[in-house]
Amino acid sequence: MTIFRDLSQHILDIAENGVKAGATLLHLTIEEDTAADTLRIVVQDNGSGMNAEALAKVEDPWYTTRTTRNVGLGIPFFKQAAEMCGGSFSITSEPGVGTTTEATFQHSHIDRPPLGDLAGTLLCMIVGFEGVDVLYQHRVDDQTFALDTREIRAILGDDIPFSDPDVLAFLNESLHNGLASLPGETS
């Protein structure tokens, strides 16, 4: 049971939490190991982090740091999805340093949601979060695809937004070619 269709929606939701916590860098790592039959997703942010008390509550579906908004609502669902698929889930956090959310799945588990529209999730993260950089590293066995918006920003400068049509085309093509270069079904 989950409210999301695919894992990349979970990723976007976790990333959103990081941005809410004031992150300026989101680091998404996906590791697929076919020999070990594992899929590992790590979202690391450099936001304000949480103390031990807040961290203990965050896996509780009824916990939120605000009374009017659903910050963190998606975390218990991500945990449940991983644990239902022969995997594990953890969040570590340090005030002033950031938060790392990690979910591992049995890759071939029949109930594992597909990764889904990763390119769409990454585009939302890159374009939609103002002033937030994204480092994306995706490994399938011995093949890796990486994209770092800091490299792109260094060339484009500060005057051109990622929502510029030519930049969007560049990002779309980079993401689709990059994902297509990974072996097997990255789904």
């Binding site: 409210i3 659903n70 939302c124 374009v127 005057d159 929502s163 510029d164 030519d166 093509e173 070619n177």
Partner: protein, 118 residues
């Protein structure tokens, strides 16, 4: 990743386009991307908006996302503001509606009243 050298050319084209468009953004679009928004399909809405901007070559629209709009029953929720005009909130904005909003509201300056929520 596509070659970073290619970005240099993209930068020159984008700067040229921005010079022609003049100062300031034509419009601002905000997509509510909280947990319930994502579950309702806000990512696909956002993707449709970006696809439309790319397809039509629109460079002077700012697109951002925010957390929950606090109106879960209407999600995906999108807000559109053209220039200094009224900030209009739309509900149940799927990919098709998103494309229509770009055409009618952002480009045509016409509020689509039937999709508006208060």
């Amino acid at each position: 990743m596509k070659s970073l050298e290619e970005l240099q050319k993209i930068k020159e084209r984008a700067l040229q386009r921005r010079k022609l468009a003049g100062e300031g953004a034509r419009a601002r679009i905000v997509v509510a991307m909280g947990t319930t928004g994502i579950a309702a399909g806000a990512r696909d809405t956002m993707a449709a908006i970006l696809k439309e901007l790319e397809k039509r070559g629109i460079g002077d629209v700012v697109v951002t996302q925010t957390g929950s709009a606090g109106m879960s029953t209407y999600e995906p929720v999108v807000q559109v503001q053209v220039g200094d005009g009224e900030l209009v909130t739309y509900g149940n904005v799927d990919a098709n509606r998103a494309a229509t909003l770009i055409e009618k509201h952002v480009l045509g300056g016409e509020v689509v009243a039937e999709w508006q929520v208060q």
